[in-house]
Symmetry: C2
Subunit: 140 residues, 2 copies
DNA sequence: AAAAAATCTGCAACTCAGTTGCAAATTCTG
DNA sequence: CAGAATTTGCAACTGAGTTGCAGATTTTTT
């Protein structure tokens, strides 16, 4: 029960200082083969060897995130926050910067993405959102 | 019970072709005065005239989104999706493009934001995520 | 301005993602 | 291999967001 993929996963866990357990190996392998961000339940479905309790999946993901092997990805649905579309054009919204200290959101209007470059490659953009988090000048 | 803010809200609803109701006026006004994206419960708390059922708040936000007056904003927590951090440096993750048709996520490595420009203004960036949605070349 | 039509609101009950406490199982260390 | 440290699974829970439906409100029609 070994494979190059599995060995790489094992090494990643070792390097990160995490216990090398079956659930972690399995989940890491699923993510390494994924072509897109996956939800907890989608990860569960892709597990071949044995089913894992969803609590385990969530906790495993949490540890993998903690050591920097995995991160969370956004989607428009289930975003949880709402704001006026005020400063946004049809397909593009000004990049936002949210200060993790004071919570205020700044609109960085001059840091727009070079959309033309993307369109040039044949991508049709229907929704764009850029989000930055950190400390604003006042809190830094 | 009228004010410039309220009048603007009223006009926005009218222009959008929505019934001009008390809950919609109230919620729109809250969002117009907000310095940051708000959750449903935070919006509820800021309502001064009268309390609104959370179902009403959610449905109102949904209609406002439908007509383009409001949009959803991301946060790292509660993102719901997970992916390997593989291609990401410490504070910066490659811009992602997700095709709404086939669901595949592409990494657009050469469309990075000019981070230096932002740092120059005194912002400290701890987390950055750029997400694009639309049609990929194969699906367009 | 009243009545009819269209739409919206609130309630109660529900679904579904994600969390918590704890005992049993697994992994690492010496 | 034994003991210590950590992880896993279960069951039960929390909290965001949804649904059906009856009653209320807004707009349109006359």
């Amino acid at each position: 029960m070994t494979s190059p993929l599995r060995d790489r996963a094992r090494q990643m866990l070792k390097d990160a200082g995490l216990y090398c357990t079956e659930p972690r190996l399995a989940i890491l392998q699923v993510l390494m083969q994924a072509a897109r961000p996956l939800r907890q339940d989608q990860i569960g479905e892709k597990l071949t060897l044995r089913a894992l309790n969803k609590v385990t999946v969530y906790r495993t993901l949490e540890s993998l995130i903690e050591v920097g092997l995995v991160h969370r990805a956004f989607t428009y649905r289930r975003a949880g926050y709402f704001e006026l579309a005020d400063h946004c054009t049809e397909h593009q919204c000004h990049p936002h910067f949210t200060c993790t200290q004071c919570g205020v959101t700044h609109c960085l209007t001059d840091i727009l993405l070079p959309l033309a470059k993307i369109a040039q490659k044949g991508f049709v953009i229907n929704r764009q959102q850029v989000r930055l988090e950190g400390l604003c000048p006042a809190c830094a």
